[in-house]
C-alpha cells in the first residue's frame, strides 16, 4: 500500500516546495510509493486523517499557523520540519526583536486604508514567530534554505525504507 504524504506551507517563501519540485523525474519514482494527499500543489482543502509523513515548510507566525500545525500533528505519524523557517524561524523570525504593532506600523502605517474591511478575518500575527518544534513535537528536522532536492529525495527514500536518517550529513542551517 502506498504511504500518505502531505506537504504544508506555513510562513515561508515556498522555496522548500520549489526544491521539492526540483526532484524532477525522481517525483515519478516517488509517486509509485506515495499518495500526495494534501499540498499547496493539489486541490485537497482539508487536511486528511492518518497521514504517514508530513513535510512542513515555514514557521509558525499567526494564530492560523498555530491552529493548523496542531491539527497536522494530530493527524500525522511522522512530522518533518522542512527548511530553516520551520526548523529555526529563519527570516520570518527576524521580526521577533520588535513588537507586532511596530512592524505593522512600519509596513502599513503611512498607507491610506481605503477598504478597512479587507483586514477582517485575516490571521492574527503572533507576538513571536516560532520554529515548529516550539509548538508541537517534531520527528525529523531538515535544515537548509532550502534543503536541496537531493536531500529531500534521500530523506523520503530513507523514511520509506524505515531506516533512520543522518540528516546532518545531508544538509545544514543556511544550506
Amino acid at each position: 500500500m502506498k504511504k500518505k504524504l502531505a506537504t504544508v506551507w506555513l510562513d515561508g517563501c515556498s522555496g522548500c516546495h520549489m526544491s521539492f519540485l526540483d526532484m524532477d523525474e525522481r517525483l515519478i519514482d516517488l509517486a509509485e510509493h506515495f499518495d500526495l494527499v494534501y499540498s499547496p500543489i493539489v486541490d485537497q482543502k482539508i487536511f486528511p486523517p492518518d497521514v504517514d509523513i508530513s513535510l512542513v515548510e515555514g514557521s509558525v507566525s499567526t494564530d492560523a499557523d498555530e491552529h493548523k500545525i496542531k491539527l497536522i500533528r494530530e493527524r500525522t505519524a511522522t512530522l518533518v520540519s522542512l527548511g530553516d523557517c520551520a526548523v529555526t524561524g529563519n527570516v520570518p523570525a527576524m521580526r521577533n526583536a520588535f513588537t507586532v504593532d511596530s512592524i505593522l506600523e512600519r509596513a502599513f502605517g503611512d498607507r491610506p486604508v481605503t477598504h478597512p474591511e479587507i483586514f477582517q478575518g485575516l490571521p492574527k500575527l503572533l507576538p513571536r514567530v516560532r520554529p515548529i518544534h516550539e509548538v508541537v513535537k517534531v520527528d525529523v528536522f531538515v535544515p537548509g534554505c532550502p534543503p536541496s532536492a537531493d536531500t529531500i529525495y534521500t530523506l523520503l527514500r530513507e523514511l520509506l525504507s524505515g531506516g533512520s536518517v543522518d540528516v546532518a550529513r545531508l544538509t545544514r542551517f543556511g544550506a
Binding site: E66, H133, E134, V135, V136, K137
Partner: protein, 548 residues
C-alpha cells in the same frame, strides 16, 4: 618598633584602666546597629553619663552578634546586655550601674543564642574597640606574630597551620596548610598574600563583621601568612559596599605600621611586609581567585583557566596566597595556642569553628560562631530560636548562589564540609537563610539563577548562555507557561553548565536548582501541570500556551 615587653605594657595599661572599677558601657557600632543609629545612642549615653556625673567609659565596640535585637549595649563588669536601646533609654542603662538591672533586661547572654556558641574568630567582637589597637593588644593581640617571627621558622608556621586542620573558610574548604605550603615552596623571590574580603554571597556578612569588629586580627593573620610563605606585599580586596570596614581597616593598617607590625623590621626582625587595600567595584565573580587577581591588576574580573594555580602563578604571575577573611582570622589563635588546640574542636575532617550569618524567617538573626559538627537543627531552633509565630519551617539555604536548600528531613545534618555536600548544599562562606512556607522554592531557585545570570562574567559559553536559558525556563515555570519539555531541558542544563563552565561561579550556578529539584520537585510539577504555586507567591498566566 615595638618589643614584647612594650606589648605587655600596653596590655597592662589597658587592663589597669579597666580594673579601676570604672564601668564600661559598650555600644555596638558595627554596620547592623549603626544602621539603627547606635552612633547617636553612643553620644547620648556619653552625654547623659557626663551630665549626671556618673564615672564610666562609653565605648564603641564591634558586633555582638544578635543583630535582630539591635542596637545592642552591654555593661561591664556584670555582662548585662540591653537590646533595642533608644537614646531615651540612656538613663535606664546608666541606672543599671548603680543597682541590679530591671527585670526586663535579664542577661541575654544566658539565653541559648549565646550559650550554644563558641567563639574563636569572634572572641574579641563586641568586646573591644575596633579603632583602638591597644585594646586588641590587651586581648593578646599580635602575640602570635611575635611568637611566629621570633620563635618559629616559616616552615614551622606552615606546619602548625597544617596541623590545625584549618580549611578555607571562603567556601571551597581547601586545606589552608596545604595551600600555604605550596606557595612557600613555589619558586620566586617576589610573592604576594591576598585577603579575599569580596564577600559576595547575598545573605552573608561574616567577613564584614570581622573586619568592622576586629580588623587587627585579619592583619595579624595575613602578616603571619606572609612570613610563612615568604611574601613581602599583601592586598586586602574589599567590597565597595563595605565602606565602614574599609575605614576601620585603613585605620588599623596605620596603627599597625606605627607600632611596627607592618612595614620593615617587623617585631625587630628583618622581616618586611606591608598591606594595601583594594576596593572592589561590584562583581560577585571577583570572589573567584583568578578573577580577583585580574581585578587587582586593574582589569575586567574574568577568571582564567586553572592550572596554573595562583599558588604557582598568581598576581603579576608571581606565586600568590589567597585566603578569605575568616581563614586569616583563625590564624592568630592557632599560632598562639597551637594547631593541636584548634584541631581538638570540630569533626574528624572539619576542624575548629565556623561563623554563620543566620537570617531570614527565624526569631534570632545575626552573627553566630559554632564548633563544626553541630546540627542545622541546633542552629535554627536553639540558637535561632525557631520560626516566628505562625510560620512553618520549609528549608534552610546555605552557601549562597553556589549552595542549596536543605529541607526539614535533613535538619539533623551536621555542619561540616562533607555532610553539607552530601545533602546537596555546601558550607560556602557562611550565609544561612531560613525559608518558611510562604516562599515558593521554584521562585527561590529563580532568584538565585537571576543572580548567577547577571553576575556571570560572560567569558565562557555554558555560564553566559546556559544560566540565561535556565533563568528563562525558571521564569516560565513560575509564570505557569512551562511544559514537561522545559523541565527536561532544565535538568540537562544543570548537568552541562556545572560540568563545562570555566570557573566556580558557573560550575556551581545550577546548585540551587539541583537541590530544590531534589527536595521540592513536587512544587515544580505543580507549577507545570496544575499551574499552581502552593506558597501562593507565583502569579500564573494560565492561558499561555505551554511548550510541548
Amino acid at each position: 618598633m615595638i618589643s614584647v615587653e612594650e606589648l605587655d605594657q600596653i596590655a597592662e595599661t589597658v587592663r589597669t584602666e579597666r580594673a579601676q572599677g570604672r564601668h564600661q558601657i559598650n555600644v555596638c557600632v558595627a554596620a547592623g546597629c549603626l544602621a539603627l543609629h547606635s552612633d547617636t545612642l553612643k553620644g547620648a549615653l556619653a552625654e547623659r553619663a557626663q551630665s549626671s556625673g556618673i564615672s564610666c567609659q562609653v565605648r564603641g565596640v564591634g558586633c555582638m552578634g544578635l543583630c535582630s535585637a539591635g542596637p545592642l549595649v552591654s555593661v561591664e563588669p556584670g555582662a548585662i546586655l540591653f537590646q533595642k536601646v533608644k537614646p531615651e533609654d540612656a538613663d535606664r542603662v546608666l541606672d543599671s550601674l548603680k543597682a541590679p538591672p530591671a527585670k526586663q533586661h535579664t542577661d541575654l547572654r544566658q539565653t541559648p543564642f549565646f550559650k550554644r556558641q563558641f567563639n574563636v574568630v569572634l572572641e574579641n567582637s563586641g568586646k573591644i574597640d575596633p579603632e583602638n589597637i591597644d585594646e586588641y593588644i590587651a586581648e593578646g593581640g599580635y602575640r602570635a606574630l611575635f611568637h611566629a617571627l621570633i620563635e618559629m621558622t616559616p616552615a614551622e608556621v606552615v606546619q602548625e597551620v597544617a596541623s590545625s586542620g584549618l580549611r578555607g573558610r571562603g567556601g571551597g574548604g581547601y586545606p589552608t596548610g596545604l595551600k600555604w605550603g605550596t606557595v612557600a615552596k613555589a619558586h620566586g623571590t617576589i610573592k604576594y598574600v591576598i585577603c579575599n574580603a569580596d564577600e559576595g554571597d547575598p545573605g552573608a556578612f561574616m567577613d564584614r563583621s570581622v573586619l568592622e569588629s576586629d580588623p587587627h586580627r585579619v592583619l595579624e593573620g595575613m602578616t603571619i601568612a606572609a612570613y610563612a610563605v615568604g611574601a613581602s606585599k599583601g592586598y586586602i580586596y574589599v567590597r565597595a559596599e563595605y565602606p565602614l570596614a574599609v575605614k576601620r581597616l585603613e585605620r588599623a593598617i596605620r596603627e599597625a605600621r606605627r607600632l611596627g607590625f607592618l612595614g620593615s623590621k617587623i617585631c625587630g626582625t628583618t622581616f618586611e611586609f606591608d598591606i594595601e587595600i583594594r576596593i572592589g567595584a561590584g562583581a560577585f565573580v571577583c570572589g573567584e581567585e583568578t578573577a580577583l587577581i585580574a581585578s587587582i591588576e586593574g582589569m575586567r574580573g574574568t577568571p582564567q583557566p586553572r592550572p596554573p594555580y595562583p599558588a604557582q602563578s598568581g598576581l603579576w604571575e608571581k606565586p600568590t596566597l589567597i585566603n578569605n577573611v575568616e581563614t586569616f582570622a583563625n590564624v592568630p589563635p592557632i599560632v598562639r595556642r597551637s594547631g593541636a588546640w584548634y584541631s581538638a574542636m570540630g569533626t574528624p575532617k572539619s576542624k575548629g569553628t565556623k561563623v554563620f550569618a543566620l537570617t531570614g524567617q527565624v526569631k534570632n538573626t545575626g552573627l553566630i560562631e559554632v564548633p563544626m559538627g553541630v546540627t542545622l537543627r541546633e542552629i535554627v531552633f536553639d540558637i535561632g530560636g525557631g520560626m516566628p509565630e505562625g510560620r512553618k519551617f520549609k528549608a534552610v539555604q546555605t552557601g549562597g548562589p553556589s549552595g542549596g536548600c536543605i529541607p526539614e528531613q535533613c535538619l539533623d545534618t551536621r555542619v561540616d564540609y562533607e555532610s553539607l555536600k552530601e545533602v546537596g548544599s555546601i558550607m560556602g562562606s557562611g550565609g544561612m537563610i531560613v525559608i518558611d512556607d510562604t516562599s515558593c522554592m521554584v521562585n527561590v531557585a529563580r532568584y538565585f539563577m537571576e543572580f548567577c545570570m547577571s553576575e556571570s562574567c560572560g567569558k565562557c559559553i555554558p555560564c553566559r548562555a546556559g544560566t540565561a536559558q535556565m533563568y528563562d525556563i525558571l521564569q516560565r515555570i513560575t509564570r505557569g507557561q512551562a511544559g514537561e519539555r522545559d523541565l527536561e531541558l532544565l535538568i540537562d542544563l544543570c548537568d552541562m553548565v556545572s560540568a563545562t563552565s570555566l570557573c566556580g561561579l558557573g560550575q556551581t550556578a545550577p546548585n540551587p536548582v539541583i537541590s530544590t529539584l531534589r527536595y521540592f520537585k513536587q512544587e515544580y510539577l505543580e507549577h507545570i501541570h496544575a499551574k499552581r504555586c502552593v506558597a501562593g507567591e507565583c502569579r500564573m498566566a494560565a492561558t499561555q500556551a505551554a511548550r510541548s
